[in-house]
Symmetry: C2
Subunit: 474 residues, 2 copies
């Protein structure tokens, strides 16, 4: 099938596309996939010592060893369990990318699933990039049909649509035939679960891990011959109907790959994307007008209703809740003139200056418009600052920093990598790993994944001291 027609309309055509599309060769698509891998690995490294990562690892360490690396641990696990731990880590800081066509944290599911399964089977990173794009396009296909209704109903698309995308990506790594791929996708529909009610709890990042695990399981079982219903998406009992969506009409042939048209949105701010456009506006306004807590009377932001619902913690009591709080994130940005990972700790959660400023932040839902709006970036975010001397400054923002329209620069991405990795590694090690990832497409999954493991081994050996450079050269 045509590489530029990734949107079939039945499960048969979908599995045809997944298995019969030639190796993805578009250089921009591959470049974006590579950036997604590096940015996601940064997020995984940054969360190695997060409570949720450690707890998920502890919970699984007795439950099936294997060949696969887990961030910051010398022990290896099965591909499923490694994907579960690394997937949880990838999403734990809420600093990982967004994929707007499906409203998913696409990479937090795809990258861990592919790294683990790729490590098990000895895939090249080149294969990982190809499989990543295929998994992403399957998410886009689902998103085309199901978004925004599915997401608005309350499903956490990262976990639901992410599972099916991950299964397709794993199919591609295992080079399964079309009929087997069809079963893998069908099996994945039976594991695609998770509600947005978990936003603000440890289970939100766990959803990414569960989806990564489910993708591996679905592909593995299908490869062994387990069969699923041939058309699981359609009809009253079909996936779309049960998961609150109605399949849309066909998509025209020769449509661009979604990764080309939409790309990934890499995060500038380590918190829920629903707050990002407001934060971008505040950041720009305080820069342009030299504002601070002293001369801001009030901040008022109007964002889509689905954003408002995601940001439901006006008075966050945990660090996880703080990531889903407009008052907390906006107030911290004003107080610190920035918002970084260091602003989401048990200590900063209770900063008095931030808590004092929070009542000055107001958030409203934009009036509902059409069903076709994804509820994410289609309606602009309008943010107004009222200064203490009565001035009103307003910014209307359609696309946040980090989308392909206003991308993070290479330098931004490098700094983000070093900031994240620096939470787990010495500066020298972080730099070394970053350099190693620059020719990602020339490497293999075992080499890249072994960094995650050897970090653990080296940390255990050296009690967090830097290790000699050759120790990092696996």
């Amino acid at each position: 099938m045509n590489q530029l027609s990734p949107f079939p309309t039945t499960s048969e055509e979908l599995s045809n596309w997944v298995t019969e599309t030639g190796k993805i060769t578009n250089s921009l698509a591959l470049k974006r996939a590579k950036t997604a891998f590096i940015d996601t690995i940064a997020c995984i490294l940054g969360a190695a010592d997060e409570p949720v990562t450690k707890k998920v690892f502890e919970g699984l360490r007795g439950s099936g060893g294997g060949l696969c690396s887990v961030v910051g641990r010398a022990e290896t696990l099965s591909a499923e369990n490694a994907a579960l731990v690394n997937g949880t880590a990838a999403h734990a800081l809420d600093f990982d990318d967004n994929f707007l066509p499906a409203v998913t944290h696409a990479s937090a599911v795809l990258v861990p699933a592919l790294l683990s399964l790729g490590e098990e089977v000895g895939a090249s990173c080149d294969q990982l990039l190809d499989a990543y794009i295929v998994g992403l396009e399957v998410q886009a296909w689902l998103g085309h049909h199901m978004i925004p209704v599915h997401y608005a109903a309350g499903w956490h698309a990262t976990s639901t649509l992410g599972t099916i995308g991950a299964a397709a990506a794993c199919v591609r790594i295992l080079t399964l035939d079309t009929s087997t791929a069809r079963s893998a996708i069908s099996l994945a529909t039976s594991m695609a679960c998770g509600s947005k009610i978990q936003f603000g709890s440890m289970t939100k990042p766990l959803h990414a891990g569960l989806a990564a695990r489910a993708g591996v399981t679905a592909a593995r079982l299908a490869a062994a011959g387990v069969e699923g219903h041939a058309e699981p998406f359609d009809g009253p009992w079909g996936f779309m109907s049960l998961h609150h969506a109605t399949k849309r009409s066909n998509i025209p042939e020769n449509r661009e790959l979604s990764i080309l048209k939409h790309g990934l949105a890499h995060k500038k701010w380590p918190c829920c994307a629903s707050a990002h456009r407001t934060l971008d506006a505040i950041y720009e306004m305080i820069e342009e007008h030299s504002l601070s807590t002293e001369n801001i009377e009030k901040i008022d932001t109007i964002i889509p209703e689905s954003n408002v619902k995601n940001l439901r913690f006006d008075n966050p009591k945990t660090v996880n809740e703080a990531r889903f709080s407009m008052p907390f994130t906006a107030a911290t940005l004003v107080c610190s003139k920035n918002l970084t990972l260091n602003d989401f700790t048990e200590t900063t959660l209770h900063r008095q200056d931030v808590r004092n400023f929070m009542p000055r932040v107001f958030m409203h839902a934009a009036p509902a418009q059409t069903q076709e709006e994804t509820g994410i970036w289609d309606i602009p975010a309008v943010t107004t600052i009222l200064t203490t001397n009565g001035q009103r400054i307003t910014k209307k923002i359609q696309q946040p920093v980090g989308t392909i329209h206003i991308p993070l620069t290479d330098e931004d991405l490098e700094l983000k990598f070093l900031e994240c990795a620096g939470r787990t590694l010495s500066t020298e090690q972080a730099r070394q790993f970053f350099d190693c990832l620059q020719d990602f497409e020339q490497q293999n999954a075992r080499h890249v994944a072994s960094y995650l493991r050897n970090i653990g081994a080296n940390r255990n050996r050296s009690h967090h001291q830097p290790v000699p450079e050759h120790k990092m050269d696996f």
Copy 2:
């Protein structure tokens, strides 16, 4: 909390009940739980060599070893993976029990999850029985609120509600505290998935295995400290709403345990329960009137609409589809004057006498009545046989054979065990295992589970020949 009040109304009360209820001591409840274990173990043994069981095992054998036994295999797996294989086996023949309050194959999920986790932690079978009842009551609680709407929408309750029940049962085995139990239940809501569209495919039995695995994972991760949203059932994003149900009003205090009021329905016929009352009626009528293919002109059965939908294969093309076919099961019963596991094989699927008779079997949906009907046994099944000499014989049946109203006798259960186990073991071995299970409550999970493994070891050693008795005495 009172042992006879198993229906709390919030997640907090649910987790209180799961963790604070005293050890279940009601002898009838325990007797029924024991019967459920023995009948489910029979189904697991019977399916050791089913294609789906073998394929699931093959898919997982490289994915995490552990301490836990898998039916018919000498190799052991992690508790999760063993639960996945054994759970799939338990449901593979569709001969396992039904639990009407939740419309679930309750035991196909609970028994494998508990056997595997129990084997890992060294639980006594006494503990397994207690945990089984707790898991069952949680399913009943969910069923009270969500059935029939959830099931009618298309969700496979075995997989959805079964997952949450299994998590609660595993919580009980791990003796977690209330707050941890609450997280386990919350985590389970994020893994509770699966559509009835998979009926007739290998993924239907897989659902039982996935639910068993999910129950183990949820309890294990919660035990390690992973937290979920405290009230995952309520509100627009809550589990009930997303899974097509609305929470009902409270249930009166001091309600009987569901296992006492409803019990389990053990299957007389190895096929979808939706056909059972019709099959009971046909069986009785051909016995009473000495009927056979020669003197039956037509069979006409009126059953609830949800039953009709489950039996959607008028012309089954696979053995799995045959289990969900009214014409196939009814015609086989007429032709063979019985319906046993031997009637569901690649050969019997194409029996000419059965295929010739099938067009004489007609099935209609009873007119819809109230929402409160579970759609399973509330409306009677009315079956009429028109004989070739113009006689009309009708039977109206409310409860199928196998429910607590018309239970299988001890002899029926023993014969069923020997029929199932005889597919995997020699007659002598099957008898020996059955005898061993008679004092189930005095044993421990490792001993019982090891039978499943040693069957594998013995089979491998002896090439299916009977082994000396002492070899079975582990």
